[in-house]
Amino acid sequence: MSEAESNNPTPPLVRIRGLRFRRGSRWIFDGVDLDIPRGKVTAIMGPSGTGKTTLLKLIGGQLRPDEGSIEVDGENVHALKTPELYRLRMRMGMLFQSGALLTDISVFDNVAFPLREHTRLTESMIRKLVLLKLEAVGLRGARDLMPSELSGGMARRVALARAIALDPMMIMYDEPFTGQDPISMGALVQLIRMLNDAARISSVVVSHDVAETLRIADQVYVISDGKVVESGSPAQLRESGGDWTRQFIQGLPDGPVPFHYPAAPLREDILEVSS
């Protein structure tokens, strides 16, 4: 039993053990152990290309690990048959980086989509639920707009309303703050925390936006080179003595992650061109 489990008797919502996953010959994850507790905001951080989005796809069963197991709410995701996996996904929401709204239908229909697909509610009930979900993200007035008429921040809020349409037990946020202006970012930060606390949803936020993520996270995992290099509360990470974590949290241009891409010495390169 890990230290986290012995301190917290409630089993974690997501339990990852010995995860190994590769693309081609490159190992994206090489022995990752990770617990995502219930009812908390858990942040998974790391620089671009470390496989944060891949981790969400593995948790959601869209990708299959080479080794190891991923359990969500006690169910081994990759041992499930397709109908069972789909039933589990109905209890998981995911906010994609792009929003992933269906572009040929309106905001209202996008939010109503999972309700129409998975429930037998009447249209009048669906209307009420959709308006409530849109109200929660502050976009009830935008229900008749098409996705192409929304700003990036609005699109993500609509996608968030859609993600909570079926009242899931957890929401996975894939880079929710990337490319947002300060106002949209503030709104998203507040929404993630509010939804987590008010609706008692467990949240997994994958991000490399340090300040915003540390503001709302209860627990943080830092990933690098296919492994969890550090974990703890935001305060513990800020005070971390680890070189890698310090470079990432403080945004230092050079350190364990070098500024320069590996190359021959500059002198050699220049002389080669001159000769």
């Binding site: 869209q62 789909y86 996904r89 994609f96 709204l101 572009t103 998975h118 859609r162």
Partner: protein, 258 residues
């Protein structure tokens, strides 16, 4: 030399892998028919976007092809005093060959490329992943309605093409060149065999509809999800569909009329 052979082998394996993936895609699309039967609206929406919106180009092309056939046919037949067979010549050419083939080629250019681009962009903008995470199978919800819509639309469009082609041939032959109208229609009625000509033409258009839509959907679903990937997939759809139609036309013609 070995390097070239290895490259060639690599291409061959890649092509076979893609072909295998394309065949594997057919199964879930067929299963999607159950969803369509439960919600026919999904199919009707796609029939509109894939079939109805292609009517204009099919109608205009059919009319002009028929007019050209009328003109060319008249000049050739009049050398032998056989102008009265113009109706038969126009109708047989259209129903047996030009209707199904040209409709499929135009369909691949207009609707097939649009299908590939739409599905490819849905993939690039994570809409298909989004559906999966909402516990909705994109192969049933997105691909299957488009597949069956294309499959149903092509034979209907081919029938429209042939009908307007015959009218075009009649306008030129009967209207402009003075071919006897009774002989024009009578020759067509007597010379065209329903089973031999019409049914075989319909079979061809069904096969072409199946192949063109399948290629278009597979290319979109299998594309690299970038702007360049979608662009390449769209080009491949038109090229592969056109070659498949022309190749299959030869095979089917040989089987049907030999």
């Amino acid at each position: 030399m070995i390097g070239h052979l290895a490259k060639l082998g690599g291409w061959g394996l890649q092509a076979l892998t893609r072909l295998g993936r394309a065949h594997l895609l057919l199964l879930p699309m067929m299963r999607g028919l159950l969803d369509i039967l439960r919600r026919p609206r999904l199919l009707l929406d796609q029939v509109f976007s894939v079939g109805v919106l292609t009517i204009l180009i099919i109608a205009v092309a059919g009319l002009f092809v028929g007019m050209v056939l009328g003109l060319q046919g008249y000049y050739i037949l009049s050398r032998f005093g056989g102008e009265t067979a113009l109706g038969l010549m126009v109708a047989a050419s259209l129903v047996r060959e030009l209707g199904p083939v040209l409709t499929a080629l135009l369909f691949a250019g207009r609707a097939g490329s649009a299908l590939t681009a739409e599905i490819g962009l849905m993939k690039a903008t994570e809409q298909l992943s989004g559906l999966e995470m909402m516990a909705v199978n994109p192969e049933h919800r997105v691909l299957a309605p488009r597949f069956f819509a294309g499959f149903l639309s092509v034979p209907l469009l081919a029938a429209l093409f042939s009908m307007l082609g015959v009218i075009g041939g009649w306008m030129v032959g009967g209207g402009m060149l003075g071919v006897d109208q009774g002989a024009f229609w009578n020759g067509m009625q007597n010379g065209i065999d329903f089973r031999e000509d019409v049914i075989n033409g319909v079979i061809k258009s069904v096969v072409f509809g199946f192949v063109c839509t399948w290629i278009a959907i597979f290319q979109g679903y299998d594309c690299v999800p970038t702007s360049e990937g979608v662009s390449r997939a769209t080009t491949r759809t038109v090229v592969h569909s056109s070659l498949a139609v022309l190749g299959l036309d030869f095979v089917l013609t040989a089987l049907m009329f030999s």
